[in-house]
Symmetry: C2
Subunit: 136 residues, 2 copies
């Protein structure tokens, strides 16, 4: 059984075109049910359920700035991060910082889907950008 | 709700050391419950539940050959692929090939956890190596 205090919220994939990217996962068998613009990250997102709680989240830049545009220019399209849901993102951020992990934000910020989020730097995790998220 | 005919089986992460990598996800809140050696891929794997069906699968090379060792040498540690469970991997491979996707194996092969698997080449999917898997 998975731990209700830490489970996958989503896998985020940086894409150049939402319609083209959705088709790949639709051909696989997934169904997309929601798009949302996240101005703070300068992206349009599209969500499909991939398990009981988890989604795949496609991220397309909405202008030529922002972290996803920078990622696409540097690495090309691909998996950008994975996100785990925790009960208290402020507390978890403090715990991880105390353990020596490098967090991206000093204070958690608003993300997609009405969540409060922070990120652990890939240098702290063995090459994986990990988001932690709390439902508001 | 997710589609029972296509859901996340696992996210695979290439790591240099299983003990070090497990500690990151344990600090996050996950619990690892199983290790398994997959000789065909020349890796030792470690699994933790991340949702109802899905796992994170850490992959460490067991010698200086094999696809995960090659990935680590080329890109460093990080997310290697994501895997979706389908009811019939032979049929799904044929369907995807007919739609123009490039599959890695002509015929599905045995993978970890007693599964029959195939992979869709990242060039066909927008930069993501996607495994499809059927429970045997």
């Amino acid at each position: 059984m998975f731990n209700k205090d830490c489970f996958l919220d989503h896998i985020a994939v940086a894409v150049e075109n939402l319609d083209v990217a959705e088709k790949v996962y639709q051909d696989l068998g997934l169904t997309f049910d929601k798009r949302e613009t996240v101005l703070d990250q300068q992206v349009e997102t599209s969500f499909a359920h991939i398990d009981e709680n988890a989604h795949i989240e496609l991220l397309m830049p909405i202008d030529k700035k922002g972290p996803i545009q920078a990622f696409l220019e540097k690495k090309g399209p691909g998996i950008h991060h994975m996100c785990y849901r925790v009960p208290d993102v402020v507390k978890k951020s403090e715990e991880l910082t105390a353990l020596g992990y490098k967090l991206l934000y000093e204070t958690p910020r608003s993300g997609a889907n009405n969540c409060l989020v922070n990120f652990i730097h890939p240098k702290s995790t063995g090459g994986v950008l990990i988001e932690i998220s709390q439902k508001m």
